[in-house]
Symmetry: C2
Subunit: 319 residues, 2 copies
């Protein structure tokens, strides 16, 4: 059956809302421990109880409180915390405790405290185990000419670990510690779509962000039900018809220039990676292609794809 | 002191969030009764306790439960409910119980149940007393040429009941029962800015919506602290430099074509009506003028101006 746009959004923003059913929400929260850092009165992520049980938590690095369901990382500096996390993860990898850790990327994701204070970083593939917020960029390259608006859509490689063969956004990538959104966009545009830096700088425009709390399912690979709150800064890249994105590594199979109608059909068939669907829906709304008059769930969609996360988030302002 | 964009957003989206401080939120909610309709298990708005005390609630129309803090409207059809509300309001007007009711507009605002079911309607100026969601449209007309991007900004008349002399969006207006967003845009564009229908239809583009929960302050006129959740469908109207909006009634004093810098300065000085500031901030984000790199509160702003309201909302889809 064809998926509605709200179905697609709900596949991505899957975590419950307190306001929808306070009692059910409170019950649901018993499935998690909150991830904390000593000395800060705040929650940095939700760790599934099964994950808490399966980790070894060396006492010199961690305090686990089963009654309050908290996992508190000790250490008083980012360096101390990073070392504690790295060592804990190394043990888990050695013992092959988690499927998601088999996808080790050697990329570090930052965790922020209030006011964007840098608290620690951890290996990217471990972030869903801790339920921390991750940051990335998604860019939609498009052509708008006498043939109407058409979008450059890549298909992911069959051999990719996550979401093999699904459709994707033209350019997308995660932001490691210290990286800025625009910088990440420029880097990924070359790495994934062979778009040269000068073309990107001349044509890319920041257009907001989407945020949602994903809960991992089978398609993501590895353990399911892990919580993955995400912030994706979105960019539009308007290209002339003679600029053609090309795969630059083994991650992308091919790029196709799809009409809006073809893109909508592929969305309805569930061919897009879930968070790419969300970015396209945001693109369609901003470009007047989805309107209050033709999308019955207009308001629900817009609010869910701009979810206010319950964790401190980064500021990527250039000082 | 100059107001930040987040300050401006917070002047508009003033209602607390559960997730920020569950205990404080629960305490705060004791200030309100929930507005309900018999036969539906849902909350339609928040009524300040003082407002509950000051109204007469005829027993044939209403059930007040002080322990549960609920105000339930009886009647089993929209017609019955409308009559009950109209009669209750007429009594309050006659007795001059509320300042806000002195601004009677003879415009009816709809209230929706689950799935956009029409439940009742009430006089526009009474809606903040019941804390119901209201709907409107805001359009930003702009010129983008060799002189850069400039925005058509009207100044409200000195004699306007609400927010006199403040700056406004090019076109803005509330949607009465039965009205569709685009239709409302076309009507208001002529009424407020003398923009002919063909110019609007050729140049206006839907661009999403903003939603927030306003809490009335002095500038709104009448009782303060009333809750006013709002949805504003936003439109961009790109005009050539020779199309000049003009006041068409006594509500607007004049239109000025402001540069982005001039608009930002007027925002920082607090010259814009609060919800117009929010619409402009959304415009700046969508047009790449506010970015994650130059706006430190980027994410917090985007999520607050797309607040997920805790009440059922309308669907304005054309069937």
């Amino acid at each position: 059956m064809a998926k509605s746009n709200l179905d697609l959004v709900q596949e991505c923003d899957r975590f419950p809302y307190y306001q929808d059913d306070p009692a059910a929400y409170t019950t649901h929260m018993k499935n998690y421990h909150s991830f904390r850092v000593k000395g800060y009165d705040l929650v940095l992520g939700y760790i599934l109880n099964e994950v808490v049980d399966r980790f070894d938590w060396p006492k010199e690095f961690w305090t686990i409180n089963p009654a309050e369901r908290t996992v508190t990382l000790l250490g008083s500096t980012p360096a101390e915390r990073n070392q504690a996390v790295a060592q804990t993860l190394a043990t888990a990898v050695k013992q092959d405790r988690f499927e998601v850790l088999r996808g080790w990327r050697n990329e570090l994701y930052p965790v922020f405290g209030p006011g964007g204070e840098f608290l620690l970083e951890m290996e990217r593939c471990a972030s869903p185990l801790f339920g921390i917020v991750s940051y990335g960029i998604h860019a939609t390259a498009y052509v708008e000419d006498e043939n109407g608006l058409r979008l450059w859509v890549p298909r992911r490689s069959k051999t990719k670990q996550t979401y093999p063969s699904m459709l994707d956004n033209t350019v997308a990538g995660g932001m490691s510690t210290g990286e800025r959104p625009y910088e990440c966009l420029v880097r990924e545009a070359m790495e994934e779509a062979s778009l040269p830096e000068d073309v990107v700088r001349a044509n890319a425009r920041a257009a907001g962000c989407v945020s949602y709390t994903y809960v991992r399912d089978n398609r993501a690979g590895g353990e399911t039900d892990l919580v993955q709150p995400e912030v994706e800064y979105v960019y539009d890249i308007k290209l002339s018809a003679d600029v053609i994105p090309k795969p630059n590594d083994s991650e992308v199979e091919e790029f196709c220039l799809l009409t809006v109608e073809e893109t909508k059909e592929a969305l309805a068939r569930g061919e897009f990676k879930p968070n790419c669907a969300v970015v396209l829906i945001d693109f369609f709304i901003r470009h007047g292609l989805l309107t209050p008059e033709n999308e019955k769930d207009f308001l629900e969609i817009l609010t869910k794809i701009h979810r206010r996360l319950e964790f401190p988030t980064a500021s990527h302002v250039t000082r």
